[in-house]
Each structure stands twice: as structure tokens, then as C-alpha cells.
């Protein structure tokens, strides 16, 4: 790899990851056969992905379920070894130096708390401080920074198991930044949270990114997260990178799309995807109203899934 790539947060070059999956047979006889079977199928979770993430960037890493997002993240964090291709994270190969790589990354994985379940948050923080060998001065400065960004005092002495989902997610994010890693991976950090908590968490992520120039790699299904945080998004589907550009670029293509939902007399919803550039939403409503009785109307922004679908169908070319 060129010398330049050492200065990037993450560089992936032609990365592939295959999994071997046993072909399972049905029934008891099948199970016994499976015991000795060498009949494997190779499933490609990630196919030839090339990607560069610059320092200090917040990128949205999107894709439908099973697209290969988690597999990519697991490779970047050094948990999985790529089948082929090269990955550099902070200039090093993550799989070969797992512990060293872990010092330089922070990870929040879905709704799985990584904190000590029964300990008050502050004790978890102290253990993490020692685990990452963070100097006391830096640790205190970080806690002060947290205090200036969010109201941490109410949760600091609360055991993690007694926390609400929102408080727990907040705690996990704070814990991931505690050793001031150059890169933080956030996997669906706002899943299941209420609107105000979502806003709080987005603000926190932005604040930390600004203060510490931390690179953030965010996977999410929430377009709100993407809008609030990311300037650039990467979309992956069926293991292949299908989009890698500014969010503005994406909006130029799809910002004019609206999902129109109409509730009919029999309480069923009908859905239409409308491009406002070519069709006026009000026209459609009036048109439909002539045909049938409409009880309720909803106009939604195009969903992530639909954007991805659109892109996958090749509309973004």
C-alpha cells in the first residue's frame, strides 16, 4: 500500500469475506449426516470492498439487514480476518494486532452494553481507565468534557442494569470515547430510543467528534441519524459497495421523493412513491379522492430502505 494510506483512519482495498456454511439436512437422519458432512456452501458476506475513511470524518455506513455491514465492522475492529484484500486501521493491520488495534478504537455495538452490568457507571469508567491505561489527568479532562456536553451526574452513580435504554446507550457511547480513540464505531446507536434521547445522542456524537477530531463510522437504519451526523455515506448491499459519496449528492437525487400514505375507508393504508419534481403530491391526493374516500393522509420523506433500493436499481447513475 502507498505511504499515504497510513495517514488515513481506515483504508480497505479489495476486501472480501467468505463464510463457510454447512448444508444442513432435515430430520434426525439428516442431523446425523451433518455431523460428518463436508458439504459446505461458501457465502460471500463482503465482496471486493474498497473504501477510505479520512481522519475526523463521520461517515454513515448503510445497507439493508444482512448487507455485510456488521461483517465489515468486525473486520475493521480486528475480530474477523478478511478472506482476501487489505485493511489498514490507523495505519495498522487490525487482525494481526488485535489488542493494539483495540487501544485505538472505541466500539458501541447495537443494544449490547459493554459495561459491567452491575457496576455504577463511574466504577465502569474507572476500570476502563485502568484497562486502557489512560493517565489520570486525561481521564479527568474527559469526564469534564462529558459534563459540558451532557448531564452525566444523574447516571454516574447508577448501576448499568438499572438504567433506561437511553441512559445505557449514552453510557456506552461515553465509555467508547473514554480512552480518546482516533476511531469510534457506532452500530445503530439510536435504535429504540425516543425522539429527545435521539437528539441528545446525536448532539453528543457531534460534540465529541468536534472536540477530539474523532473519526466516527456509523451504521444505522435511521435516516435522521444520517442527516444529523454524516456528510458522507457509503451504502453496501449484498456485500458490494454500491454508493460512496456526499449526502448532498444523495439528496439531489432523492430529496424530491416523498412517500404518500393514504388511509382508506376500510382502514387500510395505500402507499405511493412520488417524485415532487415531476408530480405534485396534492394533485395525487385530489386524484385519489375522486376515486375513493380518504380518512387520513401522511406524507413522509423517502426512507433509507427506499433510497438504497433506488440506488441499487441504478437510479443514481
Amino acid at each position: 500500500m502507498s505511504d499515504l494510506s497510513v495517514n488515513e483512519a481506515v483504508v480497505m482495498r479489495n476486501v472480501c469475506k467468505d463464510f463457510k456454511v454447512l448444508n444442513r439436512h432435515e430430520g434426525l437422519k439428516g442431523s446425523i449426516r451433518d455431523l460428518f458432512s463436508r458439504d459446505y456452501n461458501t457465502v460471500s458476506a463482503v465482496k471486493d470492498v474498497t473504501l477510505t475513511v479520512h481522519k475526523g470524518e463521520i461517515i454513515g455506513y448503510l445497507g439493508p439487514n444482512g448487507a455485510g455491514k456488521s461483517t465489515t465492522i468486525k473486520m475493521m475492529t480486528g475480530v474477523l480476518e478478511p478472506t482476501s484484500g487489505e485493511i489498514l486501521v490507523n495505519g495498522k493491520v487490525p487482525y494481526k494486532n488485535r489488542t493494539e488495534n483495540c487501544e485505538n478504537i472505541g466500539v458501541v455495538f447495537g443494544q449490547r452494553s459493554q459495561l459491567w452490568w452491575s457496576l455504577p457507571l463511574i466504577e465502569s469508567f474507572k476500570l476502563l481507565r485502568d484497562l486502557y491505561m489512560v493517565p489520570q489527568k486525561d481521564y479527568e479532562a474527559m469526564i469534564e468534557l462529558y459534563r459540558s456536553l451532557v448531564d452525566i451526574d444523574p447516571i454516574l452513580h447508577k448501576p448499568v442494569r438499572q438504567m433506561s435504554l437511553g441512559q445505557r446507550t449514552l453510557s456506552d457511547i461515553l465509555a467508547a470515547f473514554l480512552h480518546n480513540p482516533p476511531i469510534v464505531f457506532l452500530d445503530e446507536p439510536t435504535i429504540g430510543l425516543d425522539v429527545s434521547m435521539k437528539a441528545k445522542i446525536r448532539e453528543l456524537i457531534l460534540g465529541l467528534n468536534k472536540e477530539k477530531n474523532t473519526t466516527v463510522i456509523l451504521t444505522t437504519h435511521d435516516m435522521g441519524d444520517v442527516d444529523a451526523l454524516c456528510k458522507r455515506i457509503v451504502i453496501i448491499d449484498k456485500g458490494t459497495k454500491i454508493y460512496d459519496n456526499d449526502i448532498e449528492h444523495l439528496k439531489n437525487y432523492f430529496g424530491s421523493y416523498r412517500t404518500l400514505k393514504l388511509k382508506l375507508a376500510d382502514d387500510t393504508w395505500e402507499e405511493y412513491l412520488i417524485d415532487e419534481k415531476t408530480t405534485d403530491v396534492m394533485d395525487v391526493i385530489m386524484e385519489k379522492q375522486k376515486e375513493k374516500k380518504i380518512k387520513d393522509v401522511k406524507i413522509l420523506e423517502i426512507s433509507t430502505e427506499e433510497v438504497i433500493k433506488k440506488i441499487y436499481e441504478g437510479s443514481a447513475k
Partner: protein, 267 residues
């Protein structure tokens, strides 16, 4: 990279342990119930032993007090696996649910980080019970109390404890490959019950299995011979510390191999 040596890990373990104990104490009812349960478990085990000996005053040339010594020895030797390695029982759930991945994100040894998470206080009762039994049997048999014998006792207790740790590591790590690893663990854990009896009661193939493949005989029998029959110690007893270390090392390697081979599928 800053180096994390033995001192770091020892210090880290102590800190996690202190925090864990503090939080355990705060659940008083839980603490009291588990203490009660632990006493009952030990008592019932002891009663079974007494009934057995009431009917067979001698097993293969071993009299009551020698058997009692062996019994106490096995209790003490099984304490470390109970206290320090109890999280192995949770491994298969973590692996199946995918939660296990969180142990791979810290800049420390995965096995250490996983095992350090749980300290089981219940093992301490077993320890007290075991020590009491050893002391009682010791006095009744009339083994001389010299610093050398005490040292031997400690070394060989520690040796004995290695085998169950290794066995449970092996059993737990099977979950990285197979789904029904719970059965493997339960079977292994049941095997420990054989440790209370002199291995000389096993013949032929069982003797070989319990000595070399599933070395139950080392959990109490061979190491305790060093104290019980100082004039006639088999070679296997003397090499047991080395064998124990090798066995633990292999089990650790097997465990870590499982982590590496595991696909972490599902998110």
C-alpha cells in the same frame, strides 16, 4: 504499545473483583440465599458420603479417615474453578446470542477479560468446608505437622485445582464448534464426583481414561498420595504439577482457538 504484563493483569483482576464483591453485597437477599444454598449443597454431599461409609467401612483398602482426607482435598481443589472460572458456564449463551463479541473489543487478553467478569462467592463455603475436613482427617490419621508437609500440601492442592480448571475450559470452549456444549459441560462437571474416590477402584480402560484423557484421578487421588503415603508416592503424583500446567495451557490454547475460529455471525 504500552506493555501489559503479569502485574497489570493481577492489578486489573483485583480491581474488578473488589467492584464485583461490592455490588454483590448490595443484593443482600441474593447473598443470603446463595450462602444458604451453598451450605446445604455441601451438607448433602457430606451426608451422602457418611451414609456410603456407614455401609462400606473400607473402599479398596482406604479407611474412613483417609477417604475423608481425600474428600476434603477434592473440595479444596475444586474451589478455584468454582470461584474464578465460573463464567465458563455462561460462555455458550454469550456465543450463541452473539454477545460474546464485546470481549474482543478491549486491548486485553480475551480469556482474561471474560473470566475476570465473574467471581463466584459460593465457592468460599466449599473451601471452608474442605479445609475443615482436611484438618479433621489430618489429626485423626496423625500426619506429622512440619513446614515441609504443609508446603507439599499447598503445592499439591494447587496442582489438583489445575485439572478441573483445564477440564472446564475444554468443555466450555466446545461451544465455539457445537450447539449442545451444555451437555459436555454438565458431564465434565459430573465427573468431578469421581474425584472423591481413590482412583485405584478403577480398572483397565477406565483407569487410563481417568488418568490421561479426562484426568479426574489428579483432582485429588494422585496429589493427595504425596501427603497420605509419603513412603510410597507413585511417579504420576510427582509429575502432576507439570502435567497440570501443560493441561491448563492446552485448554487455554483450545479456548483461544475457538475464539479465533468462531465466525461471530449475526449482529
Amino acid at each position: 504499545m504500552r506493555k501489559r504484563g503479569l502485574k497489570f493483569y493481577a492489578g486489573m483482576y483485583r480491581k474488578i473483583l473488589v467492584q464485583d464483591l461490592k455490588s454483590k453485597m448490595s443484593y443482600r437477599a441474593d447473598f443470603i440465599i446463595s450462602t444458604f444454598g451453598m451450605i446445604m449443597t455441601n451438607l448433602s454431599g457430606f451426608v451422602t458420603f457418611m451414609i456410603l461409609f456407614h455401609n462400606f467401612p473400607e473402599i479398596n483398602g482406604w479407611d474412613y479417615h483417609h477417604m475423608l482426607f481425600l474428600y476434603g482435598f477434592s473440595l479444596v481443589a475444586l474451589t478455584p474453578v468454582q470461584c474464578f472460572f465460573d463464567n465458563n458456564w455462561n460462555l455458550r449463551f454469550m456465543v450463541q446470542s452473539g454477545d460474546f463479541i464485546k470481549y474482543c473489543f478491549r486491548p486485553v487478553n480475551v480469556f482474561f477479560y471474560f473470566i475476570s467478569e465473574v467471581f463466584d462467592v459460593k465457592g468460599l463455603g466449599q473451601l471452608a468446608f474442605g479445609i475443615g475436613t482436611i484438618v479433621y482427617a489430618w489429626i485423626k490419621i496423625g500426619i506429622p505437622v512440619t513446614p515441609l508437609v504443609i508446603l507439599k500440601l499447598l503445592v499439591f492442592l494447587l496442582t489438583a485445582s489445575l485439572f478441573m480448571i483445564a477440564l472446564m475450559n475444554f468443555a466450555a470452549a466446545t461451544c465455539f464448534w457445537i450447539k449442545g456444549s451444555g451437555y459436555v459441560m454438565v458431564i465434565m462437571f459430573r465427573f468431578k464426583d469421581f474425584a472423591k474416590y481413590p482412583s485405584s477402584i478403577f480398572e483397565g480402560i477406565f483407569k487410563i481414561i481417568f488418568t490421561f484423557i479426562i484426568p479426574i484421578a489428579f483432582i485429588a487421588y494422585y496429589p493427595s498420595l504425596v501427603i497420605l503415603t509419603p513412603d510410597n508416592v507413585p511417579l504420576l503424583s510427582w509429575i502432576s504439577p507439570l502435567y497440570g500446567l501443560v493441561f491448563v495451557y492446552l485448554s487455554y490454547k483450545f479456548w483461544m482457538l475457538g475464539v479465533r475460529k468462531y465466525d461471530f455471525t449475526g449482529s
